[in-house]
């Protein structure tokens, strides 16, 4: 909150970051920071409503056709979803550590943690891509080539349609998040942030955590319903 840099650590390579520019519409830096943060929270609420439409569709069909949904869920790649969940949770941890690092004026750690989060985000996307490929090969993509040998294939196809839609929009948001975190990491490396000014890091972190939370809801709904042998 205070304006001065309280932990100028020469070993981190920068005594004091360049002060943040006060945009002309704001009265002071505090108003600027609070506005940016409130803006990001309002934006995340809109994202909740956006995904909420798909979650509603899922919940309704799940209640109407439980056999189809449970049967379809057993065709998901359980290990891929579980690993991806761990990957995302760890990436959120690293983002939180990055925010802590900038509060403590550790520029190198800031960049390091951001890059780790980035790497995990990319790992998530790679694993997702592998899953999609697997579904394609096994005729689980809705459309002319869809094949399903469980009960109620008609509604199992609806499950898969929702699966691709929900994880597809989620992956799109991950890609945006990767772009965002890369940008923040680059700016961090250039010394833009300091304990006095790190709002973009905080807000990018909020976005990343949000995308993570969406996945935490998607994972049980898509991968964990129905009876399943774990090994």
């Amino acid at each position: 909150m205070s304006a001065q840099s309280s932990h100028g650590n020469p070993a981190s390579g920068l005594a004091a970051a360049a002060p943040a520019a006060l945009q002309h519409q704001f009265a002071d830096l505090e108003q600027q920071r609070e506005s940016a943060t409130l803006g990001m929270w309002v934006f995340l609420i809109t994202e909740v409503m956006f995904f909420g439409g798909m979650f509603t569709a899922y919940l309704i069909y799940r209640v109407m056709y439980p056999a189809a949904f449970q049967g379809a869920s057993q065709h998901m790649l359980f290990w891929a979803g579980t690993v991806n969940t761990a990957v995302l949770i760890c990436s959120s941890l690293f983002v939180a550590l990055a925010v802590h690092a900038v509060q403590e004026d550790h520029r190198r750690l800031l960049v390091f943690f951001l890059l780790l989060a980035l790497l995990l985000g990319l790992a998530f996307l790679v694993i997702k891509g592998y899953e999609y490929h697997d579904h394609w090969v096994n005729h689980k993509v809705p459309g002319a080539s869809f094949q399903f040998d469980g009960p109620d294939p008609l509604h199992a196809e609806v499950f898969f349609a929702l699966y691709f839609l929900m994880t597809g929009f989620h992956a799109l948001h991950m890609v945006i998040g990767v772009g965002l975190v890369s940008t923040i990491a680059f700016l961090a490396w250039r010394g833009r942030f300091s304990p006095a000014y790190h709002t973009p890091v905080d807000n990018a972190g909020l976005y990343w955590h949000f995308v993570d939370i969406i996945w935490i809801f998607l994972y049980p709904l898509l991968y964990l319903i129905g009876h399943r042998r774990l090994w």
């Binding site: 002309h24 803006g39 809109t46 069909y61 189809a68």
Partner: protein, 541 residues
């Protein structure tokens, strides 16, 4: 406040910079408001042109002016253009963008660049919708019901839906900007209860925009993905449910009508006190009614589905809630009326539009009580009764409120006065033309004339002829302001800082205002509508 009669070129937001780049790359909220003004005016006349063709076709019972295919595209694109490219942005994007920072004593919105991005998204959405029109248009109705829109229509559904999708993000970003700005950037001393009611209305509107529009976005995304990829989320033949579309669609589209009316109500709450020279009656109740409308507005969506195949129980709940949401609107009308009691009334043009609003919105709102009654709605839904009901609110209400706003704040925006006589003539013409256009349609609807009908049973013709006659008068009425407002830019008298001696921070700076609105941030120590402290309304010249 002295009126500036000499023509010194003091620097203001209009003359500070010239050239197309200074407009297309501006981040000044006032210039962005004008960018919106120009584009929504264009879209209004596009939508109005379609309305003219519709009313011409409906002069005769047979489908003889255009083919039914074309007619279906006409009413669809009329609805899409008027709702998404005119009504939803109108007051927030033009008047809100221009005046919210000024009313709270700020120098700009919280996020000026996002504000500009908002306009570009709006234009991109508009371009997609225009592309849809120019390549044939969609024919699904603005409501895009499935499975017709996803599986059966042979029209430009994807372009139209995509255009609405993109324009929706413009609406979301505008709402986001308003919320943050109003929360964080009020001048010192301006507490929530010192805010003009226009801000309360736009704040409530912004909350609806932010919560509701994303649901429309995902719903339309599902429609165009389903259409392109043939997935079956809404298609019964593929295991989907068409009613799911309706629930998701109306979850946004009902609150959307409150996006369209709340800002107008905010305008009336500014105009009536000014032209009655007294504070609004029941400030807290009017402010809270905006919040109540926003909240309850999210709870009534399935009243569009009473005959769609929903259960009796859910219909009962939604009917009851629909009556509940009518109460805060009634409260506003009573408060505006009470504001005129023992006032000192000036019937200038903005006040005429405000009075027109109150009259027409009351009729529209009353007919809402009809359609909220389950037994009546079964008979009148999907007929011209509903068409008349929502046009009374959207056109008689929202458009009149928009015109009231334009005429009230025009002197501040441009520094010019329009000719008062022509303002009054236009207001009267619009009021009369509107009633002649839409009142007969209540009768036609109850008699059984369905909506979206290209050809109709001959017994409805007389009513339709009246309606078309009214529409031509209404059209003339709308063209008049276009002409005399443009005329005033060149030939109008200078307005001075406060030609109405109105209350509000925006009137305490020059007309047109300087780029940064205020030389110094004001410190607010007074209540809004402090007409007891302000001088009288200047006499007409």
């Amino acid at each position: 406040m002295s009126t500036a009669t000499q023509i010194t070129e003091t620097e203001n937001y209009l003359n500070v910079d010239y050239g197309i780049k200074s407009w297309l790359l501006t981040t000044d909220h006032k210039r962005i408001g004008l960018l919106y003004l120009a584009s929504i005016t264009l879209f209004f006349f596009v939508g109005g042109f379609f309305a003219l063709l519709i009313r011409l076709e409906l002069l005769t019972p047979g489908g003889d002016l255009v083919q039914s295919d074309i007619y279906n595209r006409l009413f669809t694109m009329h609805g899409i253009v008027m709702i998404f490219l005119f009504l939803i942005p109108s007051i927030p994007a033009v008047i809100g963008n221009f005046f919210i920072p000024m009313m709270i004593g700020a120098r700009d919105m919280a996020f000026p660049k996002i504000n500009l991005l908002s306009w570009y998204l709006f234009m991109a959405g508009g371009a997609l919708i225009l592309y849809s029109i120019l390549t044939g248009g969609a024919d699904t109705g603005w409501t895009f019901y499935t499975p017709f829109s996803t599986e059966y229509s042979n029209s430009r559904v994807v372009a139209a839906a995509l255009g609405v999708f993109v324009a929706g993000f413009s609406s979301i970003l505008t709402g986001l900007n308003f919320i943050v700005t109003i929360h964080r950037m009020r001048a010192p001393g301006m507490t929530w209860s010192r805010m003009p009611l226009f801000l309360w209305s736009n704040y409530a509107t912004a909350v609806i925009q932010v919560l509701g529009t994303p649901v429309l976005a995902i719903t339309l995304a599902l429609v165009f993905l389903e259409r392109v990829l043939h997935i079956g989320v809404f298609n019964p033949q593929m295991g989907g449910d068409p009613l799911l579309f309706q629930h998701l669609f109306w979850f946004y589209s009902h609150p959307a009508v409150y996006i369209m009316i709340l800002p107008s109500m905010g305008v009336i709450s500014e105009v009536v006190p000014c032209f009655a020279r007294k504070r609004i009656f029941g400030y807290a109740f009017v402010a809270m009614s905006s919040v109540a409308i926003a909240v309850f507005g999210f709870l009534v969506w399935a009243h569009h589905m009473f005959v769609a195949g929903v259960s009796v129980y859910s219909a009962l709940v939604f009917s009851l809630l629909s009556y509940a949401v009518a109460v805060p609107s009634a409260v506003k009308v009573f408060n505006w009326t009470a504001t005129m009691y023992k006032g000192s009334i000036y019937l200038r043009t903005p006040m005429l539009y405000a009075l027109g609003f109150i009259g027409l919105f009351t009729i529209g709102g009353m007919t809402g009580l009809f359609v909220a009654a389950l037994g009546i709605d079964v008979h009148v839904t999907d007929t011209y009764f509903v068409v008349a009901h929502f046009h009374y609110i959207m056109v008689g209400g929202a458009v009149m409120g928009y015109l009231a706003a334009i005429h009230f704040w025009w002197p501040k925006i441009t520094g010019k006065l329009y000719p008062e006589l022509w303002g009054r003539i236009a207001a009267a013409t619009i009021f009369l033309g509107f009633n002649l256009t839409f009142f007969p349609l209540f009768i036609a609807g109850y008699l059984g004339m369905p909506r979206r009908y290209h050809a109709y049973a001959p017994e409805f013709q007389v009513l339709n002829v009246f309606s078309t006659a009214g529409a031509s008068i209404l059209g003339v009425g709308y063209i008049l302001p276009l002409l005399y407002l443009l005329w005033s830019l060149r030939y109008g008298k200078d307005a001075g800082d406060n030609p109405w001696n109105a209350a509000g921070l925006e009137w305490m700076t020059a007309s047109p205002p300087p780029t940064h609105n205020f030389a110094e941030t004001p410190v607010v120590t007074w209540d809004p509508y402090n007409y007891n402290e302000l001088p009288d309304m200047p006499e007409e010249e």
